[in-house]
């Protein structure tokens, strides 16, 4: 029950979807469509996994007044407030993200700046990392560095002002060598994904059951 049933479910859905790809007409096509819609529905629920442990952990911290409980309280307050304004938006405007919904206020003035700034921090880290790590230690690293510099200079007006070489070289790098490598890597990855999918369907790969 605990292992066999899931393996059978995976095998059946997997093989069926490969089959219905080649035989898209009735009844395969209709059944495939139904499975796809179900998949979309179930996929939504996976987003809820983790929310419970988040709430539990921080609620415990607040209840026991542990160190940093104030931050946990802020976290929970943010969560509850967002849910409340979301529901208000749904009831009042038909959707939480109607342009006048209070949910959009929270979105625009908290989620957007928080997410964007967190990510902007990376600018500093990547700059300092590149300063430290990307030194022309050997010919391979030099190649990487030269390529990066040419590409950057080729894409900003200053580069073209220095020499017409940069935009031309930039284009060539993007269209020929870098494209070739990206394609090689991606073909390898795609074939890897295919073999992994086969292993999953056939029940050889079972790590998702843990």
């Amino acid at each position: 029950m605990k292992r066999t049933v899931p393996l059978i479910i995976t095998f059946l859905t997997g093989t069926f979807l490969v089959m219905s790809f080649f035989v898209p007409h009735a009844p395969f096509g209709e059944l495939e469509q139904r499975l796809l819609v179900w998949y979309a529905i179930v996929a939504g629920f996976t987003m809820l996994l983790g929310v419970d442990s988040l709430i539990r952990a921080h609620a415990r911290k607040v209840a026991r007044v542990r160190e940093g409980w104030g931050f946990s309280l802020a976290l929970l307050a943010g969560l509850v407030a967002t849910v409340i304004v979301g529901v208000i938006g749904r009831v009042q405007f038909g959707s939480p993200f109607h342009i006048q919904s209070p949910f959009m206020f929270i979105y625009t003035y908290t989620i957007v700046p928080l997410q964007a700034t967190m990510f902007a921090l990376l600018a500093f880290f990547i700059a300092s990392a590149s300063y430290r790590a990307f030194r022309a230690r050997n010919w391979v690293a030099t190649l990487l560095l030269v390529s990066a510099v040419i590409v950057m200079l080729g894409r900003i007006p200053i580069g073209a002002a220095i020499s017409q070489f940069f935009p031309v070289a930039q284009e060539w790098i993007m269209d020929v060598p870098q494209l070739a490598a990206k394609r090689g890597i991606q073909i390898g990855a795609a074939l890897g994904a295919v073999s992994m999918s086969l292993r999953i369907i056939l029940g050889i790969e079972r790590s998702y059951l843990s």
Partner: protein, 203 residues
């Protein structure tokens, strides 16, 4: 059809692109159907859509619509190749898509002239591999600079029609980008012009 596949982390790069593409569309009376696969970014797309639509006096449900978001993007993309209503029975506000002029007769990719995706992650790969390959939907993408190198092979192989990036490091060059996108928008428009006339102006 416009797909919002980015969030606030890429907004400085992709929002100007999105706005200029939407402006192009409304100026040329191309219908816009919006949806998105990155839930946490979709409201950004919605804000831009409402903003640009207001500039052009476009009417919701007639000139543009926002379908919203559904989980499970692979399944959503493939199911839309057969019947969009199976996935998006209603728009983001719960209005049935069959009750709106713009989507009344839209059933699958066959009724969509061009998909314009704004991408900051792997969703572009899913669009190409799951929807373009299987249903031959014409696609053009605006990507972040990070994603652009990865997308070049698609362009060279003719799997996608166009690719745009911002890649310019400062706000003062924003206007250059707009010019670039106007050119790109026009190219996209040019390539789909014949088809659009036949199928009644839907993009």
């Amino acid at each position: 059809m416009v797909s919002i596949d980015f969030d606030a982390t890429s907004a400085p790069e992709l929002m100007p692109m999105l706005r200029s593409v939407l402006r192009q569309a409304f100026a040329k009376d191309v219908k816009v159907i919006m949806l998105g696969h990155i839930a946490i970014g979709l409201p950004l797309g919605h804000t831009a859509l409402e903003e640009v639509a207001a500039e052009h006096d476009a009417e919701y449900g007639v000139d543009y619509v926002n379908l919203g978001y559904r989980p499970g993007y692979i399944a959503v993309m493939i199911a839309m190749g057969r019947e969009i209503e199976d996935i998006f029975r209603t728009d983001y506000q719960g209005t049935p898509i069959r009750d709106m002029e713009i989507t009344r007769d839209v059933h699958s990719y066959a009724d969509i002239d061009l998909l314009f995706g704004f991408e900051h992650g792997a969703v572009i790969d899913y669009w190409v591999r799951y929807a373009q390959a299987r249903f031959h939907q014409k696609m053009t993408f605006g990507t972040t600079a990070v994603m652009a190198p990865d997308a070049y092979p698609y362009l060279q192989a003719g799997q996608i029609e166009g690719l745009g990036t911002r890649g310019m490091p400062a706000q003062q060059w924003g206007h250059l980008l707009v010019i670039g996108f106007i050119v790109l928008g026009n190219l996209g428009y040019y390539f789909t012009k014949g088809k659009r006339k036949r199928s009644g102006e839907t993009a």
